[in-house]
């Protein structure tokens, strides 16, 4: 595809809405939505709690082109109920992942979620399991499933489990990736374990820089829609294996990682153990300098 098809908007990924992110990610004018807001496939549960509904249930799915190649897209809207997974929200993502497998088309998931929606928790938990299965089945069929993380809600709870099954993860400094969120850890383990109001602690523990250094994410980009677009194009060019040998190697790597860093009390100690120069300076580094400093980072190989 020629440069004419590319978007040239400068926009913060963190600030953008789900629909703005899709428009800027795929080739200009190429996106066609499935089950759009006019279908009014809303949550069957929220009315019971007298809570407001959204016509797309907080997720936009459809197809588009990325640098000329067909791609399926799902984008969560983190501002609606924290981008949380409910029954319809989850079913839309499951459905498009199954389509990715059937059509043998690559897929990008724009995560922006706090996890399962508490008002429809059973349906949400089931959806997480179905989605993970659908990701794995798509990958077994040779489809790439790339996750993009850099939204306001981060990627927490069940969303982080799904992210763990993706073939590649792209993350920005603003992106956060963790199973339990800061408030959840503080509530369960106490403020001595984790002070959720300590923003610096939250970011150096769950933020994009640490996840990249620790092998939890594969590609680190600026908080910029075009940076995410270019990284997604690059990530989809490489086919990632997914078989028992890869999983066994990943299991070994994770065991080694736990032995190596298990005693660390803080992310800075992990960066020190990794052998990074000036580990305390990592949070303040701009992207270029950070990527140069990150040469000795952990690598997630093909299992991610």
């Amino acid at each position: 595809m020629t440069a004419l098809a590319a978007n040239d908007v400068s926009l913060s990924w963190y600030e953008a809405s789900a629909r703005q992110r899709i428009d800027a990610l795929v080739d200009a004018g190429s996106f066609a939505e499935f089950i759009g807001p006019e279908m009014r496939e809303i949550s069957p549960h929220l009315a019971i709690f007298d809570l407001p509904e959204q016509f797309d249930d907080g997720i936009v799915i459809g197809r588009g082109r990325l640098d000329g190649s067909p791609v399926l897209v799902a984008a969560q809207e983190g501002r609606f109920m924290g981008g949380a997974f409910g029954e319809v929200h989850g079913a839309k993502l499951t459905g498009i992942l199954r389509a990715a497998r059937a059509l043998k088309q690559d897929m990008v998931i724009l995560f922006d979620t706090g996890g399962v929606r508490l008002q429809e928790a059973n349906a949400g938990e089931l959806a997480i399991a179905e989605i993970m299965r659908a990701v794995v089945e798509a990958r077994r069929a040779g489809v790439n499933v790339v996750g993009l993380i850099g939204g306001r809600a981060g990627c927490y709870g069940g969303g982080s489990l799904i992210a763990g099954t993706c073939s590649r993860l792209i993350i920005s400094e603003q992106g956060r990736l963790s199973v339990s969120g800061p408030e959840v850890i503080e509530t369960n383990k106490g403020i001595e374990e984790f002070d959720s109001r300590d923003r610096a602690l939250v970011w150096r523990t769950m933020g994009g820089k640490h996840r990249y250094l620790f092998g939890g994410a594969d590609i680190f980009v600026d908080d910029e829609v075009l940076a995410f677009r270019q990284a997604a194009i690059d990530a989809l060019k490489v086919r990632r294996r997914w078989d028992p040998a890869v999983l066994k190697a990943e299991q070994k790597r994770l065991e080694r990682r736990l032995q190596r860093f298990g005693e660390a009390k803080d992310a800075v100690e992990i960066w020190q153990t990794l052998g990074l120069d000036a580990p305390t300076e990592i949070p303040a580094l701009p992207t270029d300098a950070f990527l140069r400093a990150a040469g000795k980072r952990e690598n997630a190989d093909d299992a991610r």
Partner: protein, 105 residues
């Protein structure tokens, strides 16, 4: 949820050819507005579901002002509201008209 419905006569019909447009998000102090071409050309219908009860008179004033000022004829507008202020509602409605009138690519 409080549900409100308005059916207003519009002097000007919406331009452009897009079948629909959506703006905004359902969050605290925010709302989503879905615009579809469905009503007769001289009519604008607006259906609202709002989390803030008892503001029917304010909604009435805002949507009447909107239909009087903008080209809203021929539109069926559906709103999910998370307790947005009247000025936010007016801006979102104006943004919706702008969006549905955008040339198609």
């Amino acid at each position: 949820m409080e549900k409100l419905s308005f059916r207003l006569t519009a002097t000007r019909s919406a331009g452009g050819t897009r079948a629909q447009a959506i703006v905004g998000v359902v969050a605290s102090g925010n709302l989503e507005v879905l615009l579809e071409r469905a009503s007769p050309a001289d009519t604008c219908t607006i259906d609202i579901a709002t989390a803030a009860h008892g503001f029917g008179a304010v909604w009435d004033a805002v949507v009447r002002d909107f239909v009087a000022r903008r080209s809203a004829g021929g539109l069926r507008i559906s709103i999910n509201d998370g307790g947005a202020r009247p000025d936010t509602v007016a801006l979102r409605l104006a943004q919706g008209i702008r969006k549905i009138e955008e040339p198609e690519r």
